[in-house]
Chain length 196, copies 2
Amino acid sequence: MAETKRDALRRTLVDVAQTHIRLRGLAALRARDVTKDAGCALGSLYNAFEDLDLLILAVNSRTLKRLDSALAAALSDAPAPADAMQNLARAYLSFAVDNRQLWAALFDHRMPADQTIPDWHLKEHEILFSRLMVPIAQLSPALDDQTCALRARTIFSAVHGIVKLSLEDRFVALHPDALDSELTQMVEAITIQLQS
Amino acid sequence: MAETKRDALRRTLVDVAQTHIRLRGLAALRARDVTKDAGCALGSLYNAFEDLDLLILAVNSRTLKRLDSALAAALSDAPAPADAMQNLARAYLSFAVDNRQLWAALFDHRMPADQTIPDWHLKEHEILFSRLMVPIAQLSPALDDQTCALRARTIFSAVHGIVKLSLEDRFVALHPDALDSELTQMVEAITIQLQS
DNA sequence: AACCGTTATGAACGTTGTTCACAATCTAGG
DNA sequence: CCTAGATTGTGAACAACGTTCATAACGGTT
């Protein structure tokens, strides 16, 4: 089909943009750099993607898939729910540390004022919460699905907040062991409350 | 002294920038808009501030002071430590909701790649943690100061994460009551663990 | 009143993302 | 195999941005 050629360029552009973000961060991403490294003209980017933001979303889409795989792997040995909570938090921290710039791009990217994030991408983000729902439902069997989803979102936000702020330059860096310990205790406090 | 004239312009520029961020958000802040509304030439901004980032930091500095006042007010009736934790979290949420754009600017702003945040501004950010240290020390008297500071940072990060993600377009909006309830439960879980 | 350091000015510059007229390429029908 | 029409590639040009700088206006001191 004729789509193949167009898709090949799209893939190349996403590859290059991903490498650029990984090495230099989202803020340093430039349309001219990406197209030069991809071996195409500046304007070709706008044949493949509506604009630069959509290219970034394509990179973020990949990162979310890899992150979800990492979280799934943390549950591969079917741990007890309390351990599942700890494993998920640890896996999230590990992924953030190992993919700092790509992970940061997931939350640092902002759409232009007149545009909103497409629905398909919002749905991809929500996948993150859903990994938490299984152990939460096991720890709190009385919770209905909606409350369970809400709780998953809250717990993810708390863990995310701890990881995010510890990895920003805004605050003095933290010793990795101290961060690990704090995260463990926070998840423990949450888990205990879920069981009560 | 001759500083007065310069300081007057600085104050005006911060006033205008603050209003712009409040109404239209940090991402929409433009040097030309600010100077036009301040009634001065474009270049005058660079006499008053090193660059636009330093002007933004001046606005953020003000916001941090107001936020700190709001947190202090939440402790004005000398509540028991468990209540202090709840009051602080609630006050933080209220401030974020009432000052969405200015509060978001505190954490969304990024320095250019070759610059770091000045020390005096990093110190201002750390004030946020310190408000938490008093109730934490009361709940966990055995903790030494360093651990107490670390715990304060972690707990702030968790609460901040919950508030931040709930106020972003990245995820579907949350019912205010649901958010309030989730935040209360999270702080309760944390407080209980501190007491144990 | 004359001098000089300080502040104000806005045109000009370099760097962005994005567009668009044009060229190259590909596809399909004869 | 050739040609017409559609699709894709190209990079100069554009508008918007932060920042600079030569020059003008100002303000205090002698």
